[in-house]
């Protein structure tokens, strides 16, 4: 018999979506989850890691710049290198970029404003462990809440992302057109989320955990979390180290 799935949710000083992620996984999807404090030098036995949103270390210096040196990130890097599934949401995405687990960087929103609203994204890659339940070209509605979500990469990096199909979501209009008007924060090429080359690390600015329960009026986020659980079930566990 295989052990039940367990999802690890990291907690940094200043994380504020850790409980939402934990709740979405345990209460909505019925899977076990552990909070993992950022001081942990090793991960418990988990099938996937979620790096939640928030303002780790008060966003001092740059978003994610200090959190990436927390001991737990060394463990997460080993986990990711061994093929473990890692989902970074909002500040979690920023931390993954600073840690070099994903290419590129995040700039302040072009408008200089903190933006908290529902946006649309188009599914650009449905063959990742995080999007297998979505349809190619499908338009999903997700909430965003960030002051720094303006994704940037140099031309060579962007070309590589496109060639390897690493762009997973692009901001779009309701009918799925990727236009400058549909881009809330100035992100390069309307990018809202990317995966690493191996495909096991996803970073995204929108918040799937905030729209996983019908009670909240939108369940599009379930597609991401359920895809992650499907992938976690079918994978060989990465041993804790």
């Amino acid at each position: 018999m295989t052990a039940p799935l367990r999802i690890g949710v990291l907690v940094f000083p200043g994380s504020n979506c850790d409980r939402d992620c934990h709740e979405a996984v345990t209460q909505v999807l019925g899977v076990e989850a552990d909070f993992i404090w950022h001081k942990a030098a090793t991960l418990p036995q988990v099938d996937a890691v979620i790096i939640p949103g928030g303002f780790s270390y008060g966003d001092y210096l740059r978003t994610g710049a200090i959190a990436r040196f927390s001991p737990v990130m060394t463990a997460v890097t080993r986990f990711a290198e061994a093929g473990g599934l890692v989902l970074g949401i909002c500040n979690g995405f920023q931390i993954l970029l600073e840690a070099g687990l994903l290419p590129g960087a995040i700039l302040r929103n072009r408008s200089l404003s903190f933006i908290c609203k529902d946006i649309r994204v188009r599914m650009e890659n449905t063959v990742t462990p995080f999007t297998s339940r979505c349809q190619a070209g499908q338009v999903l509605t997700f909430p965003i809440a960030h002051g720094e979500g303006n994704y940037y990469a140099d031309q060579a990096t962007l070309a590589g992302l496109k060639t390897r199909n690493q762009v997973v979501f692009r901001y779009c209009t309701q009918d799925g057109r990727v236009t400058p008007e549909a881009n809330p924060n100035g992100s390069l090429d309307n990018i809202a989320g990317i995966v690493n080359e191996a495909g096991n690390v996803l970073g995204m600015m929108p918040h799937p955990e905030r729209c996983a329960d019908a009670l909240l009026g939108n369940e599009d986020g379930r597609l991401i979390l359920l895809s992650l659980l499907d992938a976690a079930k079918s994978r060989k566990p990465v041993m804790a180290s």
């Binding site: 210096l61 740059r62 710049a65 040196f69 600073e98 408008s111 200089l112 940037y152």
Partner: protein
């Protein structure tokens, strides 16, 4: 010895803060300003007085933590 590290966004990367300041200056009548870049200044109080050593070490600090060289450039000034 003190090290002053100034960090700005790289040339070619849009600096919306700089643009906002540029527009504010121009609306105050300072029309001679062609461009504005807003950055940050980090002052480090160093224990050592060895210039060459300090230069190398502060550069390493910039590369590892203080700046993100994908989007930012930095300048180090050592002050006795």
């Amino acid at each position: 010895m003190k090290a002053k590290v100034s960090i700005t966004l790289k040339r070619g990367i849009l600096d919306p803060q700089g643009q906002a300041v540029l527009h504010a200056l121009s609306s105050l009548g300072y029309t001679g300003v062609k461009d504005v870049r807003v950055g940050k200044l980090i002052e480090l109080e160093l224990a050592s007085n060895d210039r060459a050593g300090a230069e190398t070490e502060v550069k390493a600090m910039c590369e590892r933590l203080l700046a993100n060289t994908i989007i930012e450039e930095y300048r180090i000034e050592l002050v006795e």
